[in-house]
């Protein structure tokens, strides 16, 4: 059975390693500050006890004040999972650092989030529209696109 790790415990570990990196945490997920996203993600991947080598999915949700991007991480060897979240505020040019250098499965999924939500990912090698065509105006999955 894949055990979902408690967000609060992981948050404690992160607070010790990277102070002020965790904004919020709950038993199911934890929210990390966008400046520390890459460091926290690298720590989660490389620490032997956590060993999150498999990025199952990246999704984004539009809560009108902010965009929230969820990273669903899994460890194949240890069979546990974790939900990591990052928020970006503002609707004009939201952006987050890209995790492609750690997990290549982020490649197409981040491009899709860019296409449908407009969130750009700094450091992505090929950030351009993927499911819609080049001249399409707007970002359809935002709540204010009709």
């Amino acid at each position: 059975m894949t055990i979902a790790l408690s967000g609060k415990e992981i948050a404690h570990q992160m607070e010790e390693k990277f102070p002020q990196s965790i904004i919020e945490s709950s038993p199911e997920w934890l929210v990390v500050d966008r400046q520390f996203l890459l460091e926290v993600a690298a720590y989660l991947k490389k620490t032997p006890k956590l060993d999150f080598d498999y990025l199952a999915a990246i999704t984004a949700v539009d809560y009108l004040d902010y965009f929230e991007v969820n990273y669903l991480l899994t460890s194949l060897r240890r069979n546990h999972s974790l939900v990591l979240k990052a928020r970006c505020y503002g609707r004009d040019n939201p952006s987050l650092p890209s995790v492609v250098s750690l997990w290549r499965s982020a490649d197409f999924q981040e491009r899709e989030i860019y296409d449908l939500f407009g969130i750009s990912f700094e450091g992505h090698p090929n950030l351009k529209r993927i499911v819609l065509w080049d001249g399409f105006q707007g970002h359809p999955l935002r709540k204010d696109y009709l």
Partner: protein, 196 residues
């Protein structure tokens, strides 16, 4: 090895995007169905000549379809072409990839604006006489996806359609009935009238 790119990826993408936007702009109204043959028949009310009858028999008895398989209906078409429902008894088991060798397009799947210029290009490359069967709800009117931002509401926005086969997806028997209807329609076309 150094590869000098003649066209960069961005240029290709932009050209494709402009093509799609141009097609969207000029496809705001559906193309009317080609049914002049109906009026002609009522007007003239004469029998076809024997040359017409021969030609029409030859044209309808072995129509070759072109590959145009976007989505789910494609698998009902493939099931029709397989051994249980056997489209080969109508002479139609040849599914050509090259539009130059085909005379029927069975549109099996939802059409999106991104794919529309390619389908129009395939249709234009087919040689006369050519016919189109719109298969499935998505091909007739956009189907379950009609209100989406990227779906063309029916193939008759960009190409004229002869027979509409409803269903989601239509059963193979329904598709065979639609093909039979098209054969009956072709049987009524007169050479004098030039067909289309």
């Amino acid at each position: 090895m150094e590869i000098e790119e003649v066209y960069s990826s961005e240029q290709l993408d932009r050209a494709e995007g402009e093509q799609i936007e141009a097609l969207m702009a000029r496809s705001q109204e559906p193309i009317p169905d080609p049914d002049e043959w109906l009026e002609e028949e009522l007007k003239r009310n004469i029998l076809l000549t024997s040359v017409d009858a021969m030609l029409d028999w030859a044209r309808r008895s072995s129509m070759w379809t072109v590959v145009c398989f976007p989505a789910c209906c494609a698998f009902e078409f493939i099931a029709t072409a397989a051994s249980r429902f056997d489209i080969s008894r109508f002479g139609m088991e040849i599914i050509r990839a090259s539009p130059r060798q085909a005379d029927l397009m069975i549109t099996a799947g939802t059409l999106t604006w991104k794919m529309a210029p390619q389908v129009k290009r395939i249709y234009d490359q087919m040689a006369e006489p050519k016919w189109v069967i719109a298969m499935g709800a998505c091909a007739i009117s956009g189907g379950i996806f009609r209100s989406s931002y990227s779906v063309v509401p029916g193939y008759n926005r960009i190409i004229p359609v002869d027979v509409y086969v409803p269903g989601c997806p239509p059963r193979p028997e329904a598709l065979l009935y639609g093909i039979r209807m098209l054969q009956k329609k072709i049987a009524k076309i007169s050479l004098v009238n030039q067909g289309r």
